[in-house]
């Protein structure tokens, strides 16, 4: 019993440690707004010590009428939302370069969105619907492994809707520019035995087409998403099934003259989770199967392959890949005088197989014995409340990655130390992080079997030192964050395969943030940020600047949100994305909304290029919209 009392006391102390008065006035509208916000933030405050956090609460997502994760990413400091040449979400996309191993990780509840071959599954989930998501937490600066032990510079945690707070069944219909449409519905229930959530969505997303060399460049996509969650006591079961088809924009065409490249995919997930708050034991098992079939074709040449007759060009390909992923974790938490800690072990294994490879309609035997990777991780973390105004936190993790075939195995180590001070109006957080990260299987595979390299790249290592100071006074909160990010042995493509940069990459990051709280849980928020990347490896400095002004509030039966996102990067025309959403609830059962994105038509655009594998000739297409000028309108009805 004393243990429980202490745990409750410590948890509450940590929660309250970060709370500041939010109640601006005592009108009923303001009280209800404050109650909604405080109830939403109660989970957030538990996690403040895990890193630098930005939360999109349930109310925020409603007001913003968020339709997909990419809209969240666009509002995240230090990165820009971008898409690959296949039209897939890829915030760190650079032509021909691999995804940074520590770039971004996305979770739904405890599940990492991951595929064994391609790594980060943001590519799949970035543009999918989010109607089953309750709130989103965005952590930057390699946060604590309490969020998930696969760390990254940006960690996005999405949490599914809470049946107790939803307590409804509803259906919604959305229509938008270019003939887009979406139909969705969900039902929730809760009783003494447990709770359930069932959700389904059909989305037919038409996007602005471009034309180049008489080829149509399309990023249209169609998907169906089913998600269910059943909780019984300490157990939670989840099932998700997603299927869809998408046009893959430029495909891999080196001359940027694709012929209807497209991809079909199916994603199946089943998960079990267990949490016992009294004993501090948590566990989960996640199983995922992902299959995708990609057809690619080019008017001229798509690529070349080596045969006994030498290099032979081909103009179309069909590739089917099936990936299985399983991960299991066991964690035990402890609480003692002034301290909380946990120890855990996680195992995961991924298998991938190229089931069909056709070049110009003929089967091609891909010579690979590499089709599995397994990782075992041990981790420990802790926090210690020195007194009512100071906390220290620390964590350490070791991973052993085992690759089959004769691929190299990786031993990885990461750790983090932090100090947090809360002096009432003044709050400061400082963290130092070190970690090493293995390349994704795709890079290792291509290095060995496509580029015929005998060696594998080294693990990439990251060191981040950061501090953030916040001043709060009733309705105002002002913060300044500064960080230095040093990457050693950064993974890159050098034209003949994947290797490591010799020089370190040093990036200085600065973020200024001001939040002004408005009645009815509204707010005005301004973020101004910059990434200053120093010259390295004969590459010039690369500085990126951004600003986000965001206003949202509720007024009676109306919700209002508007945001202006500014981004400037080297070699790009500065982008301004003005968006706005207005929601009206004429009755308790019905709500209507209208939303516009890229209203000015001046959001940041992307440039792409292809390289002829024989002549080295470069073909470019510039000024492609990543965030289209778009209007949505929709209705929701509660039964």
């Amino acid at each position: 019993m004393p243990g429980k009392l202490l745990r409750a006391s410590l948890t509450s102390a940590v929660i309250c440690f970060f709370l500041s008065p939010l109640i601006a006035d005592e009108s009923i509208e303001s009280l209800i707004g404050s109650y909604a916000k405080r109830a939403d933030l109660s989970e957030r405050t538990k996690r403040e010590s895990d890193g630098y956090l930005m939360v999109f609460t349930r109310q925020d997502l409603d007001r913003m009428q968020i339709r997909s994760l990419r809209e969240i990413i666009e509002k995240t400091p230090f990165i820009r939302y971008n898409e690959s040449r296949l039209g897939l979400s890829a915030s760190f996309y650079a032509p021909y370069q691999p995804d940074p191993p520590a770039g971004m990780r996305v979770y739904i509840n405890d599940r990492i969105l991951y595929t064994p071959f391609f790594g980060n599954a943001l590519k799949l989930f970035g543009q999918l619907d989010m109607g089953y998501i309750d709130h989103v937490e965005v952590y930057y600066g390699l946060p604590s492994q309490t969020l998930g032990i696969d760390g990254a510079v940006i960690v996005i945690k999405m949490y599914t809707k809470d049946p107790e707070r939803e307590n409804t069944s509803l259906a919604g219909l959305v229509a938008g520019s270019y003939g887009s449409s979406e139909l969705y519905g969900y039902t929730t229930s809760k009783d003494e035995e447990g709770s359930e959530l069932f959700y389904i969505d059909y989305k037919n997303m038409h996007r602005k087409e471009s034309r180049y060399k008489s080829s149509t460049l399309s990023k249209d996509r169609e998907s169906t998403n089913f998600y269910s969650q059943i909780e019984r006591g300490r157990h939670r079961f989840e099932v998700q099934a997603i299927g869809g088809r998408l046009d893959t924009f430029l495909g891999y065409s080196p001359h940027l003259d694709p012929l209807d490249p497209h991809l079909s995919f199916r994603y199946l997930f089943g998960g079990w989770g267990y949490k016992n708050r009294e004993t501090g034991v948590e566990s989960f098992l996640h199983l995922t199967r992902n299959s995708s079939s990609h057809y690619d074709a080019s008017k001229t040449m798509l690529g070349i392959y080596q045969s006994t007759q030498g290099a032979i060009p081909f103009s179309s390909s069909r590739l089917k890949i099936v990936q299985h992923h399983a991960e299991a974790q066991l964690k035990k938490s402890f609480a003692s005088d002034g301290a909380e800690s946990s120890l855990g072990v996680q195992a995961k294994t991924g298998r991938f197989s190229l089931e069909e490879v056709y070049l110009d309609g003929k089967p091609y035997d891909m010579p690979s014995r590499f089709n599995r990777q397994t990782a075992l991780s041990l981790f420990a973390q802790g926090s210690y409340l020195i007194d009512e105004s100071r906390i220290v936190v620390g964590s350490i993790k070791g991973d052993r990655y085992l690759m089959d075939d004769d691929m190299r195995d990786y031993s990885l180590l990461s750790g983090r130390l932090g100090y947090i001070y809360n002096g009432g109006r003044w709050l400061s957080k400082s963290f130092i992080f070190y970690g090493s990260f293995a390349p994704e299987a795709k890079s290792l595979f291509e290095n060995r079997y496509l580029y015929r390299r005998s060696g594998d790249p080294d693990a990439e290592r990251s060191l981040i030192v950061s501090t953030k100071i916040t001043y709060r006074e009733r309705k105002h909160e002002t913060s300044l964050l500064a960080a230095r990010y040093i990457k050693n042995d950064a993974l890159h493509f050098d034209g003949t395969g994947y290797g490591n940069f010799e020089d370190d990459i040093v990036i200085d990051c600065i973020l200024f943030e001001h939040i002004y709280s408005l009645p009815g849980a509204g707010r005005f928020k301004l973020d101004v940020w910059t990434n200053l990347q120093q010259p390295h490896n004969s590459l010039p400095n690369r500085n990126t600047y951004g600003a986000i002004a965001d206003y949202s509030r509720s007024l009676g039966r109306f919700d209002l949100h508007t945001a202006l996102v500014y981004t400037y990067g080297p070699g790009l025309k500065p982008g301004w994305d003005l968006e706005g959403a207005l929601t009206y609830r004429p009755s308790h059962r019905v709500s209507l909304f209208v939303k516009g994105s890229n209203i000015l038509g001046r959001a940041l655009k992307s440039d792409y290029y292809g390289i002829d594998p024989v002549t080295g000739e470069v073909t470019r297409v510039n000024g492609i919209d990543v965030i289209e000028r778009r209007l949505w309108t929709g209705v929701e009805y509660q039964f």
């Binding site: 009392l5 006391s9 509450s12 709370l19 005592e26 109650y35 309750d134 307590n167 308790h588």
Partner: protein, 150 residues
């Protein structure tokens, strides 16, 4: 550390918990303020006597100066429950004893008697005030409640 040291630390942690909780304005304390404001406005009194059997409202009114929680529904100005039908025979609704639901389903079942409801739905707290019942009871509310009457 000896037992006395552990005891001091436990006391300190508990004190910290109580101190920070009272300063913070927890969701429960705001919920209590909302119920207090609604109850006193409906009853046109400065202090209302309230009875509840809903575990979600257990002990949250202790710090709310406009509300006094009663142990029996018969002593209450307002019955706050998600099972209002159970009180119809023992504490029937009158103009001196208002029914207020804490679930939408219960509100719909007892719409003839409930003057309103406060509940979570679609991820947000909802306040509904029953226009028909307000008219029957000749209750006039301040204009700040207009958006919640339906």
């Amino acid at each position: 550390m000896d037992r006395s040291g552990v005891s001091v630390l436990k006391s300190a942690a508990l004190l910290l918990f109580l101190l920070t909780l009272s300063l913070a304005g927890s969701p429960d304390s705001i919920k209590a303020k909302i119920i207090g404001k609604v109850a006193t406005s409906l009853l046109d009194v400065s202090v209302a006597f309230i009875y509840t059997d809903d575990p979600a409202y257990e002990k949250i009114f202790e710090e709310e100066e406009n509300l006094i929680e009663t142990k029996s529904c018969s002593d209450a100005d307002m019955v706050l429950s998600s099972r209002l039908e159970e009180y119809r025979s023992i504490c029937p609704p009158t103009s001196q004893r208002l029914y207020f639901a804490t679930s939408y389903d219960d509100y719909l079942k007892n719409r003839d008697a409930a003057v309103g409801a406060f509940f979570w739905q679609k991820g947000r707290p909802n306040l509904i005030l029953n226009e028909k019942r307000l008219k029957e009871l000749k209750i006039r509310l301040p204009s700040e409640f207009d958006n919640y009457i339906e």
